[in-house]
Amino acid sequence: MAQRADLLQGTLDLLILKTLLLGPLHGWAISKRLRQLSSEVLNVGQGSLYPALYRLEDKGWISAAWGTSDEGRRAKIYTLTAKGKKQLAAERSAWRNFSTAVNQVLHAT
């Protein structure tokens, strides 16, 4: 159970970081962008989005500040930090290795 959660969590982290690579966003915009980027396949449970954001902020991978959104509302806007970019690169290669490995296993026979 714990392992499964970790995998999901790690994946979600990776996706959030990837989303923010394109520019600062607030929470709802992140969830929307995730949906768009994955062609509506990945509907991130929104309940787990905000804890993930908090966790990433705690790790110093993203930073948050209150500002005004594109819609002209007060919102908490998240930005990728330099540390976060480094982490993203690391996680991407880790993910690539992992998915390559899974593919190899799946196509072995």
């Binding site: 929470g27 915009a29 309940g47 787990s48 905000y50 908090y54 705690d58 110093g60 509302r73």
Partner: protein, 882 residues
């Protein structure tokens, strides 16, 4: 960017400003839901209500989300801790008897440990109150040193930046209110550099004030300056009548800073002035006839070590023994050295103090064992509860944690109570006077003590909490769901632990009781040593008349008149005087040359203790004149010089011969004829063998300060007012330095032994009590839990005594094992006590057997009560209850 401290700041914000953080979170959620609603309305053409409902559904439970968010914030463990604490407090309050018992046991154990540690802290751990005190060393020449030798040692030791000799004189202050004795420390000009102190007012000594003709100066303590001189700064430069050590008047040149404590002051003394060590100029080690210094203290140069200083001192002493072979013994010179000042001050009490700490550690261990037992029993009773909670989904970790938190709360309460107990005990008991220990005048609970107390509490939690916690939540909890409220008996595990506890407690108690018994019998042996005088009914009064009016024969006439008047008092049987109080470490030792004996090599003379007495002294204190006659009124200054020696000296000088009539030359040149031999007295300490001693009449060796001994017909206190009045009427300018029954002086000499003995005895009693309670607890529980079995047996025809035998057997086996281990452990550890013991060996079989018997007696009661209860089990009643 997000370093650990900004992360910590975020955590703290989340914890302490949770409201604010929650508000921000709400705002974020609200925005999210609103935007989602608008999107749904736009994209799918839904009504606002429907869109909002879907947005909320998509988001999931807001409350659940908030919780998981808080978890991510790392707040929950803190909240949970508070919740656990509250839970623990509640569950402890539900069991008041258990909680009270546990708190008392812990408070006693922790209190004793904290009290002992406070004393150790004050004596051994706190730095001396001088700047860079770690650089202070005591120079140990290995022999008595006069000022010239002290100087030579200081100069011959490059590792020392400065050094000073120290000695203590009683000076008499007159002309400032009531005449008073001022204990004065004499030191060199370097004293101020050595101890890193500057006078608060005025100046330190100058080097030329070493010269006898210029040494009539004094630096006052802040307290004396305030008390006797009203804190008047114009006292600097004033001449005051401060008589003694070569001067009648002295010029006040300074006042010491407030709170400056005199170094190396003997326990119980109160140094209130500093004067220069002085001697006539131009004297060498051989010709310096100044008094010996008591101590030589130096300050190490930066980078120098005690070891370098020690080897330099040894080299200097060896060189001096070549130059002055009659004064510096080459053999003794090889033992010369140095020691850090703190070590030299506390060296002889370190071992006993550490033994006390070890003993208190054992007591604490016993307390923990008892608590573990209580918790185990409580855990057994609560297994039902744990089983239910486990069935409802509480994890094992959770159960262990709850138990540990409960132990933690207990330890905290016990610890606080223990610190309070320690405080109360230390302030109620005058440790300073009782113990005779150095540096215990102002005991306080400083941060070191509190850290120690906290550490002890933490250790206690682990020691008594972990096992029961793991146990209570372990394994076969499910079986307990099925079992009735009354199970068949304690599990095998519970029984094993219980009996291991009996064995352990017996072993620990055995060690402590043996140690206490050894010290007690040693103290008894010491107290039964015949001191050589009859101390009961004797009042000892130390007088320090100023030498200006009582020098030479005037003092002799004063004491003659005073003693005559005292003997005429109705309640007084006899009176006499001696210049030194017995049973203290005050001593005068003079070189002498005895008839029929030749000087040692290089003209060295032996030395013997020397006392000045008046007629009537030996009768007043009950020292028998074994041969010849006592000092008499006729032994005046102009009569032939006479003296007495003690039995030890007579045996040493003229074994099997008649000592009376022989001649002894004091200093090799002042002859006196031995007129009598008196009994030996343990002048310094009861445990030391009597030294050879010489006694000469006051009229032929006038000194001003004497101790007047009055033998009363009743209690010494009854004559005290009369004695005081008589002294004032004979010499109203004579200050009384000290006035107490001689028996109190003798008692005081045993203070340290008595102190350590009473502490260890107290620990022994505590150990017996805790051990008995623990053994009783285990047995009562075991018997109580087996009542069903016993009843069944009796119903099947077993007799009460048979059942009792069965119960007894289960208790006696661990008791015997514990005793055996305890005896072995006692043999291994009591050796540490060897240095404290007198007249009893560390493995004295009588003591060990006595201790074991006491322990067995207590254990039999502790086991016997529950066993008797087993015998009374009612077969019908017990069977019915299940």
């Amino acid at each position: 960017m997000t370093s650990w401290h900004s992360r910590l700041a975020r955590r703290l914000r989340a914890l302490f400003r949770a409201r604010e953080v929650d508000r921000e979170l709400d705002a974020e959620i609200r925005l999210h839901v609103e935007l989602e609603t608008e999107e749904l309305m736009q994209r799918d053409g839904l009504t606002r209500e429907e869109a909002r409902r879907r947005a909320l559904v998509a988001f999931g439970g807001v409350e659940r989300y908030r919780e998981s968010h808080r978890d991510a914030r790392g707040v929950n463990w803190m909240e949970e801790l508070t919740r656990n604490l509250r839970f623990a407090v509640r569950s402890l309050r539900r069991a008041p008897a258990f909680t009270a018992a546990a708190t008392i046991v812990l408070a006693l154990g922790i209190g004793a440990a904290v009290a002992i540690f406070t004393v150790i802290d004050a004596v051994m751990l706190r730095p001396l109150p001088y700047s860079h005190a770690e650089r202070l060393v005591e120079v140990l020449p290995g022999q008595n040193a006069n000022i010239a030798l002290a100087d030579a040692l200081g100069q011959g030791t490059p590792a020392l930046a400065a050094s000073t000799g120290l000695s203590i004189w009683d000076l008499t202050l007159t002309g400032q209110g009531e005449a008073a004795v001022i204990e004065t420390q004499c030191a060199d000009a370097a004293f101020f550099d050595v101890f890193g102190v500057k006078p608060f007012l005025g100046r330190p000594f100058r080097a030329d004030e070493r010269d006898l003709s210029r040494s009539d100066v004094v630096v006052l303590s802040y307290g004396l300056w305030q008390r006797r001189f009203g804190g008047d700064p114009s006292v600097i430069g004033r001449r005051i009548a401060l008589d003694g050590n070569g001067h009648r008047m002295r010029t006040v040149i300074g006042v010491m800073p407030r709170g400056f404590t005199a170094p190396l002051a003997p326990p119980g003394s109160d140094i209130e002035a500093w004067a220069p060590l002085s001697r006539p100029p131009g004297e060498t080690i051989a010709t310096d006839s100044s008094w010996y210094v008591n101590h030589i203290v130096g300050r190490l140069r930066a980078g120098a070590t005690v070891a370098t200083a020690a080897s330099q001192i040894r080299t200097t002493m060896e060189r001096l023994s070549g130059t002055y072979p009659a004064y510096v013994d080459a053999e003794v010179a090889r033992t010369a050295g140095a020691m850090s000042l703190l070590d030299s001050m506390v060296g002889d009490v370190r071992t006993p103090l550490l033994i006390m700490l070890a003993a208190v550690g054992l007591v604490l261990l016993l307390a923990c064992a008892n608590l573990a037992n209580l918790l185990l029993a409580r855990g057994e009773r609560r297994r039902q509860e744990f089983a239910v909670r486990a069935a409802l989904g509480a994890g094992r970790r959770r159960l262990v944690r709850d138990q540990l938190v409960e132990s933690f709360v207990l330890a905290l309460v016990g610890g606080v109570a223990g610190v309070v107990v320690a405080r109360v005990v230390l302030s109620a008991v005058g440790v300073g006077e009782l113990s005779g220990l150095p540096r215990v005048a102002a005991l306080s609970l400083d941060w070191r003590v509190l850290v120690f107390a906290a550490g002890i509490c933490a250790l206690c939690v682990l020691a008594f909490g972990l096992l029961p916690a793991l146990r209570a939540s372990s394994g076969e909890l499910k079986t307990h769901l099925g079992a009735g409220t009354r199970s068949a008996g304690p599990t095998r595990y519970g029984r094993r632990v219980g009996f291991a506890l009996i064995a352990a407690e017996t072993a620990i108690a055995m060690v402590l009781v043996t140690g206490a018994a050894l010290l007690l019998s040693s103290l008894r042996a010491l107290a039964s040593v015949d001191p050589g005088m009859r101390v009961d009914h004797v009042l000892a009064t130390r007088l320090e008349p100023p030498s200006e009016s009582y020098g030479g024969q005037r003092g002799v006439r004063f004491y003659e008149e005073l003693l005559g008047r005292l003997r005429a008092l109705p309640g007084v049987a006899q009176a006499g005087a001696v210049q030194l109080l017995p049973f203290t470490h005050n001593n005068w030792a003079f070189p002498y040359l005895a008839e029929d004996h030749a000087p040692g090599k290089a003209g060295r003379l032996p030395a013997a203790s020397f006392r000045v007495v008046t007629p009537g002294y030996f009768r007043a204190v009950g020292v028998p004149v074994l041969r010849g006659r006592d000092v008499e009124a006729g032994d005046r200054a102009d009569a032939p010089a006479v003296g007495l020696i003690n039995h030890a000296m007579a045996e040493q000088l003229w074994p099997g011969e008649r000592a009376v009539g022989k001649v002894i030359r004091l200093f090799g040149n002042r002859p006196f004829t031995v007129i009598g031999v008196v009994g030996d007295v343990h002048q310094h300490a009861l445990r030391d063998a009597p030294d050879p001693e010489m006694y000469v009449p006051l009229a032929q060796f006038p000194v001003t300060g004497m101790v007047v001994m009055v033998r009363a017909r009743g209690e010494p206190s009854t004559v005290l007012p009369d004695v005081r009045r008589t002294i004032q009427s004979v010499g109203n300018d004579v200050p009384i330095a000290d006035m107490r029954p001689l028996s109190a002086v003798l008692d005081q000499s045993l203070a340290r032994e008595r102190f350590f003995t009473s502490i260890l005895s107290f620990f022994g009693i505590l150990a017996l009590t805790l051990g008995a309670v623990g053994v009783y607890g285990v047995m009562a529980y075991a018997v109580g839990a087996r009542r069903g079995e016993f009843s069944l047996r009796m119903a099947l025809g077993a007799t009460a005594s048979g059942v009792m035998r069965a119960a007894l057997a289960t208790g006696l086996a661990p008791l015997a094992a514990g005793l055996a281990v305890g005896v072995l452990a006692a043999f291994a550890t009591t050796r540490l006590l060897a240095g404290l013991l007198y007249g009893v060996g560390p493995m004295d079989p009588r003591v060990v057997v006595a201790a074991a018997l006491v322990l067995i007696a207590v254990a039999v009661v502790a086991i016997g009560v529950p066993v008797r209860r087993a015998g009374r089990s009612d077969p019908v009643q017990a069977l019915r209850t299940d």
